[in-house]
């Protein structure tokens, strides 16, 4: 720690100390504490004692939720000063791990989010355990899948495939598909969903995007069929046209008269503004 050498820095240091004292004092009013936490981020890593005080507030299950979340926000803000915060990082991450089982779901979810973005192995292990054994779940399955998607190496693909096959709820299936968008072996799954008109549009759109990323040539063929199919939704046609516009084989698409004619009609007569716009972009690129 560098001792303040000027009056101004001394006054700043004192004001931080005062704010920190207010924030960490259990006797103070909740709103005062929350406000005080907003101004202490820069001082948290000045010494180990200050860091410990803030972490203790975060870990204190008896403290009001608002105060605990304010302490967490202060720590997160402090972590943006990478160089200054780095010595505090090991203790910070360890404290967060200890809160994975916190009884407050909001605190638990926030902490899991931070750790998942750090690609923490322990967090991934616990989230996967929760998906495989629902009685050990820390968060709803769709949230767990969302958090696991931050790291493609998180070993989440097998459980995601299982959830697509037997989804506990529609949101979980959606997140599982989003996660699988990085899995090249899931191409047949996405093809099947795209072909199935009984699937919700959102899911089919997701599948189209994933297929476009994993197997763009296959997506070109599907995209064409979708655009030509009057029974398909505007949203799906928009996604398909976008894929064709940006990644279509120019020689093939330019000579596709049926496609050109259909897109021309969509440009003039589609009710969706997004679809009209996609059609215009398509024709700008491919019109002969």
């Amino acid at each position: 720690m560098t001792e303040p050498t000027t009056d101004k820095s001394k006054r700043t240091s004192e004001s931080y100390a005062t704010a920190l004292k207010t924030a960490t004092s259990a006797n103070e009013d909740t709103s005062k504490r929350v406000t005080a936490f907003a101004g202490v981020a820069r001082a948290i890593c000045d010494d180990k004692e200050k860091l410990k005080d803030v972490i203790n507030v975060l870990k204190d299950t008896q403290s009001p939720q608002a105060v605990r979340l304010a302490a967490l926000r202060a720590l997160q803000s402090a972590s943006f000063s990478v160089v200054k915060f780095t010595p505090c990082r090991p203790e910070y991450l360890t404290a967060l791990r200890s809160l994975i089982d916190d009884p407050d779901p909001e605190v638990r979810q926030r902490v899991l989010g931070i750790l998942a973005r750090e690609q923490d192995g322990y967090t991934q292990q616990r989230l996967l355990e929760g998906l495989q054994q629902p009685d050990k779940a820390l968060v709803p399955p769709e949230k767990a899948l969302q958090l696991l998607s931050y790291d493609i190496h998180a070993d989440a693909y097998p459980v995601a495939r299982e959830i697509v096959r037997k989804p506990p709820n529609p949101a979980a299936k959606r997140e599982a598909l989003r996660l699988l968008a990085g899995d090249a072996t899931s191409v047949p799954t996405f093809e099947g969903i795209l072909r199935d008109k009984n699937e919700p549009t959102e899911i089919r759109q997701l599948s189209a995007s994933a297929l476009h990323s994993l197997a763009p040539k296959k997506m070109q063929a599907y995209a064409r069929d979708i655009v030509l199919d009057d029974s398909e939704s505007d949203e799906l046609k928009t996604t398909s046209l976008t894929a064709l516009t940006h990644f279509g084989e120019e020689a093939t698409v330019s000579e596709d008269n049926a496609l050109q004619k259909t897109v021309d009609t969509l440009k003039d007569k589609a009710s969706s503004p997004d679809l009209k716009s996609s059609a215009e972009n398509f024709l700008k690129k491919y019109r002969k």
Partner: protein, 578 residues
Amino acid sequence: MPGLPLDSKVSELQFSILVDELKTDPAQPALLVALLREDHPIYDQRGTAATIRMRGWVLLAFERLGLPETALLFVLEELDNGREPYLVAAAARSLRSFTCPSPAMAAFLMRALANIQFHDDLVCLNRYGGYAVSSQDTAAPGTTAVDELLAALNWLGPNAEGAAPAMEALLADNAKGGGALSQTQLQELRAILESLHGDFLDGIEPPPSQCCTLPASIGALRNWLATTWPDNRGHKQDVGSIIFEDQDGEHVKFADFFYGRPSVVAFFYTRCTNPLKCSLTVTKLARLQKLLAERCLDDRIRTAAITYDPEFDLAERLSAYGKSRGVRMDGDNRLLRAVEGIEPLRKYFRLGVNFIQSIVNRHRVEVYILDATGRVAASFERIQWDENEVLECAAVLLAKDNISTVSRSRHTIENDNKEKTYTAKSSSFTAVTQSASSARERGGSTLRGLPALSIFSVATAFFPKCPVCWAAYLSASGIAGLEQLPYFPWLLPLFASLMLINLSSLWLQQRSRQGSLGFYLAALGAFLILVCGIGLELPYASAAGIVLTIIGSAISVLHSRYSTSFQRSQVGQIFPGN
């Protein structure tokens, strides 16, 4: 656990028990070392986090058993390019169980400090998994990767002397607010430095020389031009038909790209999250390409980067990845994906990689040099490779291939013309001597001017293109020390100019007499040498050019002699007594 099959079906619990048993058995270090290979079946279909936990536990087993030499490279690898705090901490701790601290280790420890200081974490090395969930847990006290690295520097003692400047720089950086060490860690670092300075002032020297360098086994794992490349790497016929797609979507076979010239091959994948591995490897490949161009070797040595993840790394991704790292991409320099999958290449190269489904769970840094037959001639594995080192290695391989080509030319000429024997190493002198002897046998007259015609053609044809080849040629001449002669690149244009001057003189000569066969043969010879041999590098063109030049020169000189004699006889007949 007797009889436990070491494959992907083993649970982590079973694995940890197995390692705990092995670490109590001093006769089993080889089994433990084998578990450090990424391609071990036990890591197949494991997630990255599981692989980290397992490898860390193996590294820590050596703390009790003592780190054998055969495991040292894996430890140094982790220090050199690891980014996981648990593994780096485990590596630093297991290093301290090596019997022979060496000054060479200090550089690795400092590099690890630079790599990990902004990504450190509290880890628990006494428990499988290594996760610290409480800093107050007395049963499983935590440590950090930086703490373990500092402890290893302390363990090195006087052997860390070479790292003193780097330590001082780190302290200075922290003083300016740019470092990431805690106050406690900074105090520790100061104490290490003071101890080193104290040793210096007390006249304490580092330990004896056998400990000053890394063990020889480390070098053996990074061997160049291995003449004993393990046969289980596979034979070229297994991979020749592999089809690649490059960054432009073009298809090319392994045989078509990698045969015919030496090549440098790196492995990578675009979703690698360790910037010290794939991203740095490909960036260094780009730098190597520039060095090759500076040495005029870029048209003689190919480069390629092959992805571990061919299903995901499609052409557009390869192209974008290469562009953002300054990689040159053209017919001889490509980013490739194996269209039918990575397995055949994995076997051929014995790649240090494993997968969960198609996702890489862990891989090592690996770069290979292939010879002109596509055979692996050198490897650079685990530790960061140096572009200049790889370049020199590839250049030496190229020179060896060139000498083989020249020897093949000699053999062909011998078959074509048994009266003339030319040897590549002293072609200019031998050819001249032999040609002169032949001429004496045929006509009994002295072929004045023939050496002047021949020598520059031969010198031009055989002039080496670079210093490495120059040294190779001169060393092949068998005269001790000759290869030390400096390379003179200006000699080639000089020889070529003199050759053309002689050609011009031949042309002037043929104008003054009948018959220009000699000139045309010599001119054709010059064309073959300069254009076909040096310019287009067509095989045997230079040799054929030499032959034609000598024949043409001989004919021209003989014709000149005959014409002069005939004219004199004609004059004698017309003017008797002259």
